[in-house]
């Protein structure tokens, strides 16, 4: 409910309204697609679906993590007046980002229609991938949300780290195009965001996420939620003092 509010508020007075979310993403994809498609020397019909799925998915990941750590900080007025369960504010951020991604995802069928790529059974895994990934990301948002409220340096650190993560995660570059580089291989496979990205992205471009991807994401979800819930149990009451 509050998540919807946020979206509607931002676009209420513009002509295209929420369509701007989609337009913004479409423009980014086209621009990067043309430039990097040329640099990587990859045919557009391969590169564009890859890029579109990557950017849209990354948008969800970065959005939840970036805004998650601000979840309580921006809701100060409300927290100091209403004794709502604090998890509401985390759900609000996650939900808002899911809605944004739902606007962006409509780009995918267009890209596939224009450049080919087709629809395969892999697509059936997509809802599962999104569900597990969002579960893991929410756990992360809970942890960051609480810690960032107490230590105000964290939001800056996270936003810087996410910028770095964007480049070291194969969002716009293709891992295989770098050849057999062991270092790259290691860095990528130890990057939790890579696995979260894969389970959401690959089904969109007719590929199957590896077993390793699935295990990572499920394990992350369990570990992060355990930590998150422990933190909540211990510090939920302190949030009103910290904001």
């Amino acid at each position: 409910m509050l998540g919807w509010q946020d979206i509607r508020q931002s676009y209420r007075r513009s002509v295209f309204g929420q369509l701007w979310i989609t337009i913004g993403m479409a423009v980014t994809i086209s621009a990067i697609g043309i430039v990097f498609g040329t640099i990587f020397n990859t045919p557009l019909e391969v590169f564009l679906p890859y890029l579109a799925s990557g950017l849209i998915t990354w948008g969800l990941i970065a959005g939840i993590l970036n805004e998650g750590n601000q979840a309580f900080i921006v809701a100060e007025a409300m927290i100091k007046q209403l004794p709502l369960p604090k998890i509401v504010y985390v759900v609000r951020v996650v939900w808002r980002n899911i809605i944004v991604s739902a606007h962006n995802i409509v780009i995918m069928p267009v890209v596939i229609l224009l450049f080919g790529g087709g629809i395969t059974w892999a697509l059936l895994l997509w809802p599962l991938g999104v569900l597990l990934a969002v579960f893991a990301l929410s756990g992360m948002a809970m942890i960051f949300g609480i810690v960032a409220t107490r230590f105000r340096d964290l939001p800056q650190i996270i936003s810087a780290a996410l910028t770095v993560a964007f480049y070291i995660t194969p969002v716009i570059w293709i891992k295989e195009s770098l050849g057999d580089n062991e270092l790259v291989e290691t860095i990528v496979s130890l990057n939790p965001l890579y696995h979260i990205l894969q389970v959401m992205r690959l089904p969109l471009i007719s590929q199957y996420p590896s077993l390793e991807n699935w295990i990572w994401v499920v394990a992350l979800g369990i570990v992060l939620w355990t930590i998150g819930l422990l933190l909540f149990k211990k510090y939920e009451k302190r949030i009103a003092y910290w904001v």
Binding site: M1, Q5, R8, Q9, R12, R13, A77, M78, I79, K80, Q81, L82, P83, L84, R150, R152, K237, A240, Y241, W242
Partner: protein, 267 residues
């Protein structure tokens, strides 16, 4: 006043016999220590310590400063009580209200509550200027913990009371400040609760609306089992409350029947 109190006491007796738990708030050694996490906190120390008002300042482990906003309060508020809270700015009145509503959990000690709580401290909380009045009523109702069905049952009455007419279908940002308050007031006072928390008596609008609003608020107060109101207004306290808490530097300086405490405080 006496009449109402006796009716409530009557009901209370009956409920006690029936074994129904009446609304109450009970503080046991409740303290609220607010940490100040500014990097410049320490340089502020000297300035703040010499300030005449405010809670006691204490340096804490880790070196950061904290304010003991409320110190080991013991208080029992029972059904039928109309409690006035008086004291200087910074004496801990607002913090105490937040403790009652559950926004703050005590840093030590306990707060025990039973009964539904409605806070009229910030009635325009959560109002979204880009949304229409009607949408804001829905949102605000949700924040007050009502279901969609309950809100829909009340929405016509709320709109009618606010006298906004067709304006409810327009975005709130074009409202005058008076209209905004009327909307906020109408929603906030649409639900009765066992425990009402207020910071000063709400007064909104002009002329006829102010009268109707005042009456509506009075009705709401009459329906509630407990009223807690922080105020600087002597008359208000004298007319409304049967019990007064005098806060000073985060402790209860005096608690007792209205007449006695008000006499001491206002002189």
């Amino acid at each position: 006043m006496d009449n109402r109190t006796s009716v409530i006491q009557e009901v209370r007796k009956k409920n006690c016999v029936l074994g129904i738990d009446m609304a109450h708030i009970r503080l046991k050694n409740a303290s609220v220590v607010l940490p100040i996490y500014n990097s410049s906190a320490r340089s502020l120390t000297n300035t703040l310590v010499s300030a005449a008002t405010g809670g006691a300042l204490t340096a804490q482990r880790g070196g950061h400063l904290s304010i003991e906003a409320l110190k080991e309060l013991n208080l029992e508020i029972k059904s039928g009580d109309r409690v006035g809270i008086i004291g200087h700015n910074g004496a801990g009145k607002s913090t105490l209200l937040r403790l009652f509503t559950g926004v703050f959990e005590p840093s030590s000690g306990t707060v025990e509550r039973s009964g539904t709580i409605s806070s009229l401290v910030d009635i325009s909380l959560g109002i979204n200027p880009e949304n229409t009045g009607r949408e804001n009523i829905l949102l605000r109702g949700k924040l007050m913990g009502l279901s969609k069905k309950q809100i829909n049952q009340k929405i016509d009455e709320i709109i009618e009371f606010s006298e906004l007419g067709d304006y409810v279908n327009l975005p709130v940002r074009i409202y005058s400040s008076g209209m905004l308050l009327r909307l906020a007031f109408s929603v906030s006072t649409s639900m009765s609760a066992d425990i009402l928390i207020m910071d000063e008596w709400l007064s909104v609008g002009d002329g006829a609306f102010a009268d109707r609003a005042s009456k509506r608020l009075q009705d709401l107060v009459n329906q509630s089992e407990i009223l807690v109101i922080a105020s600087h207004n002597r008359e208000l306290i004298e007319q409304t409350c049967n019990k007064v808490v005098w806060m000073e530097h985060g402790v209860m300086k005096k608690v007792g029947p209205t007449k006695e405490i008000v006499q001491d405080y206002f002189g």
